[in-house]
């Protein structure tokens, strides 16, 4: 088990390196010039060149790539003489490293990964992410939990009373839920619940986790705003979980060991919950892990429609402005989260099903 986790983490680092490389070359080889974007209409050759030098964009792509990796890696090499590179002469950049060893002009440094600064706002990318990401996380987790709970609760009766009106309704619902695009669902939900039915629901068409009070200027937590985006984002996973729970439970209930359980004289409730559900949930869990990734992608649209200031909005904004450090930082951060979620789910999976050998 321990070996397995270590191995998965090592793989994770490998994947991360791959993502870094792809993202870096994608944005540095594609046409587009951040320096020009930064200056806008009034760009002249000399100021573009100055900004390029400032951002390090005048160097060859390979050198830029190595510098980028050096900034990201917790273990990095630096030239003591180069002001821009060495942490000690540039404490604002790297913070205080945990360890440094010097060999002549070269220093080996152990530090926190450095995600650079936004070209546009000059704020640290790490700060931007740590402000936006928790909101996305909250949105995604809420909707996945909602989908899981509701989905399993609805999937069980659908399987037990197969071909009943309830089962048929759920079937229609889940095929609808699976096929509706999230941006459309978002607009539909906002219109229906926050415009047509606004008097009854008391919900707003858009708003983020924190609102500013119009009179006092006070910032306060507004959890009500979470409801619509979480519901919208949860529709598709909910539909999937319902149909998956149904089919998986149907499959499990036809297994031999279910017959064995009945042969012991157990009642239906005990057989379904203790013998059936335990086995039926594994594929559902696997699907949910997969969905967590798509949820992050779906969040970009939903956040935009509801103006939920999460990482999706950050990515879209920075894409428009060609703000490379923010884009790359956000993508890498999401990758880290997904890798960790996957490892976590694998462990849960092994706990639920002892046949899964982690070795």
């Amino acid at each position: 088990m321990f070996n397995y986790i270590i191995r998965r983490l090592l793989y994770g680092i490998l994947v991360l390196w791959g993502v870094t490389t792809v993202v870096f070359f994608l944005f540095n080889i594609l046409p587009g010039d951040p320096a020009r974007m930064l200056l806008g209409q009034r760009a002249d050759i000399s100021s573009v060149a100055a900004i390029k030098k400032d951002l390090g964009l005048d160097k060859p792509v390979a050198v830029q790539y190595l510098n980028f990796l050096n900034d990201l890696s917790p273990l990095s090499f630096h030239n003591v003489k180069d002001k821009n590179s060495y942490w000690y002469l540039n404490p604002g950049k790297y913070g205080n490293p945990a360890l440094q060893l010097s060999f002549g002009n070269t220093a080996l440094v152990l530090k926190k990964p450095y995600l650079r600064r936004s070209y546009q706002s000059k704020r640290a990318v790490a700060a931007i992410i740590s402000e936006a990401f928790p909101k996305t996380m909250l949105l995604a987790t809420t909707s996945i939990l909602l989908a899981m709970l509701l989905g399993i609760l609805l999937g069980i009766p659908a399987a037990l009373y197969k071909d009943s009106p309830l089962d048929k309704f759920l079937l229609v619902f889940s095929s609808l839920g699976m096929s509706i695009p999230s941006f459309f669902a978002a607009i539909l939900m906002a219109w229906l619940f926050a415009f047509v039915l606004a008097d009854y629901t008391g919900l707003q068409m858009f708003g983020s986790l924190y609102s500013v009070d119009d009179y006092t200027g006070e910032v306060y937590l507004n959890l009500k705003n979470l409801i619509l985006p979480a519901l919208t984002l949860g529709i598709r996973p909910l539909a999937i979980v319902v149909s998956l729970t149904r089919s998986s439970l149907l499959d499990v209930l036809s297994q031999d060991y279910i017959r064995t359980a009945y042969a012991k004289g157990l009642g239906k409730f005990r057989v379904v919950v203790f013998h059936g559900l335990r086995n039926a949930l594994n594929p559902v869990l696997t699907a949910i892990t997969g969905w967590f990734a798509s949820l992050m992608a779906g969040a970009v649209f939903v956040e935009y429609v509801f103006d939920w200031k999460g990482i999706g909005v950050v990515i879209v904004d920075s894409l428009e402005k060609y703000d490379l450090p923010v884009i790359m930082g956000s993508v890498l951060f999401i990758s880290v989260v997904l890798i960790l979620v996957n490892i976590f789910m694998d462990i849960v999976y092994a706990l639920l099903d002892p046949r899964v050998r982690l070795g």
Binding site: T260, G265, L266, N279, R355, G359
Partner: protein
């Protein structure tokens, strides 16, 4: 104790109606055991499930009563029946692999049965379960209590099932093919255990099996079922010494006999048509003729020669996923096969015989050694030339249910090899129809799908598929193990007829020594990846040298019908 009266159970209705159980009656006294014998689909399992009231919802009860201690189980309140299940009436199922819940510990699964019907504390129940495990002779009962089903062997799982069934000392124990999925040596132990427990608890036992030899070991009385009806019923000895019904006669005759060597096996159909005979003089193989034929064969250049073959599977991996420990499934095996002979390969499950068969075809890549087929080293061939060689080498798999693609019609499945090799471009269909006829199927089966066929017919399709390319060499990997004895005889005869006609060379893999001996010229016995004994089939069968071969043989003889009566 229990009496079944005029029971009829049907599946479906209208013109599709199928009577699975057709007006059967029997009764079972306290402490008595009844063996219910018949092939798959004869209605024996349906009868057992009806007693447990566990019939699938599609089953329709037509007529009849099942009286248990005077109460009609079929018309009792379902709560009351649930109270009897696992308590007064218990059942052991056929497949120990799938009958236990894979995500629950063995101990907890047995404890649940006790907790359902008895009021006692969890500690007391735990003690009881461990005591039960000791009773069914499980090694290290405390440790098994905590293991999951996948961590123990098939025989051990069946012992856990038995412990579960006898947990509340039932009055009636139903055992539905409890040993069919197990190796012969394990089978013997389980049957002895059932006999002991029956005597100790004074239980009645309803024992269901397709194998007369197995039933003979445990039952006092036998009822033979055929197409939903009980065709013959009586004391074991009487039935085995004087079978009346042609079906019973056929069932007894169609197993390869112990003493003599037959050219072909009598089949049940022949008996049902009224012209079956036990051992026909003209069917006996002439020993000197056989010897002469073999000498001729062994003078030829070997068609296949395997040298020092090793195939291993990783058992443990280190941090970087590199294997550190291996299981040697095929452990430095060398042998030769001569053109025209049948080489038998015997061994129990897990001995590496299937891996060996697949390694020869490179369906699993061996790790070292050489395989010379027709003077060509198969392991040295590239992808393309190996593919070409596959024309001449083919395999018949064990399970005809999973080795046919359910979405391909029989015709498509049989034409596929011809398409792959670009043969008979213009008359593929004709070729396939010809083959279907050869294996005893009809032209109209060409457009049918595998699920429309019975197990025996499917195995014929698989055999036909192996024949499409007219290979020189066929490996039969437990080709008849999944089939009923009656069907088994027909398929074995078919394989022999085909060999006669086309002059194949076979490697015949099986766990059943009697079947292998019937088929083979020479036999190799395999254990733990190694070949521990090899030689002339009759020689090994009659005078085994190795201790393990003797054990296998003893277990085989114990279940033969003609050896006992």
């Amino acid at each position: 104790m229990i009496s079944v009266e005029n029971l009829s159970i049907a599946f479906g209705s209208g013109p599709d109606k199928l009577l699975a159980v057709d007006d059967i009656s029997f009764h079972l006294l306290k402490g008595q055991s009844l063996g219910l014998v018949g092939e798959s689909g004869s209605g024996k399992s349906v009868t057992a499930l009806a007693i447990m009231r566990l019939l699938p919802p599609q089953a329709i009860l037509e007529t009849g009563k099942i009286l248990f201690n005077g109460k009609d189980l079929l018309r009792s309140d379902s709560k009351l029946v649930a109270g009897l299940r696992g308590n007064r009436i218990a059942m052991i199922f056929q497949e120990p692999m799938t009958a236990l819940n894979p995500v629950k510990r063995c101990g907890a699964q047995v404890a649940e049965t006790i907790a359902r019907h008895r009021k006692s504390g969890s500690k007391a129940i735990r003690q009881q379960v461990i005591e039960l495990f000791r009773k069914v002779k499980l090694p290290r009962p405390e440790a098994i209590f905590k293991t999951y089903p996948h961590q123990i062997s098939g025989g051990q799982k069946q012992r856990v099932m038995i412990a579960m069934a006898i947990a509340n000392k039932p009055d009636l124990l139903i055992a539905d093919e409890p040993t069919t999925a197990l190796d012969v040596t394990v089978q013997k132990e389980i049957l002895d255990l059932l006999n002991d427990l029956k005597a100790e608890y004074g239980m009645s036992l309803l024992f269901i099996s397709h194998d007369l030899g197995v039933v003979a070991r445990v039952a006092d009385e036998v009822a033979v079922m055929y197409k939903g009806k009980i065709v013959e019923q009586g004391k074991v000895k009487q039935i085995f010494s004087h079978p009346e019904h042609p079906y019973t006669k056929g069932l007894m005759a169609c197993r390869p006999p112990l003493g003599v060597r037959l050219k072909r096996l009598p089949t049940i159909d022949e008996f049902l048509e009224g012209n079956g005979k036990y051992t026909q003089k003209e069917q006996l193989v002439n020993t000197s003729e056989r010897k002469q034929h073999q000498q001729e064969i062994f003078l030829r250049e070997p068609i296949l020669s395997v040298d020092n073959l090793l195939t291993k599977y990783p058992l443990k991996k280190n941090l970087l996923g590199k294997p550190t420990q291996y299981l040697h499934a095929v452990d430095h095996v060398s042998f030769q096969v001569f053109p025209g002979e049948t080489l038998g390969l015997v061994g129990e499950s897990g001995c590496g015989k299937t891996t060996l068969g697949r390694s020869i075809l490179r369906l699993i890549e061996p790790d070292c050694g050489t395989i010379f087929f027709d003077q060509k080293d198969l392991l040295a061939l590239g992808q393309k030339s190996m593919k070409k060689e596959r024309q001449h080498l083919n395999i018949v798999f064990q399970d005809p249910y999973s080795s046919l693609n359910p979405r391909m019609s029989v015709g498509q499945a049989l034409m596929e090899p011809l398409q792959v090799f670009g043969l008979h471009r213009n008359n593929r269909k004709a070729k396939v129809l010809e083959l279907l006829e050869k294996v005893g199927l009809k032209a109209e089966h060409f457009y049918r799908y595998p699920h429309e066929f019975s197990g025996g017919q499917r195995q014929r399709i698989v055999i036909a598929r192996a024949l499409t390319l007219q290979p020189k060499f066929i490996i039969c990997d437990e080709a008849v193990s999944a089939l009923d004895v009656s069907v088994q005889a027909r398929v074995l005869n078919l394989l022999n007829e085909l060999k006669e006609e086309f002059g194949f060379t076979y490697i015949f893999i099986s766990h059943d020594l009697a079947v292998v001996r019937f088929m083979s010229d020479r036999i190799m016995v395999m254990k733990d990846g190694k070949i521990i004994e090899s030689g002339d089939a009759d020689e090994i069968y009659l005078h085994p040298q190795n201790e393990y071969t003797r054990q296998l043989l003893a277990a085989n003889i114990a279940y033969s019908v003609d050896g006992r009566f």
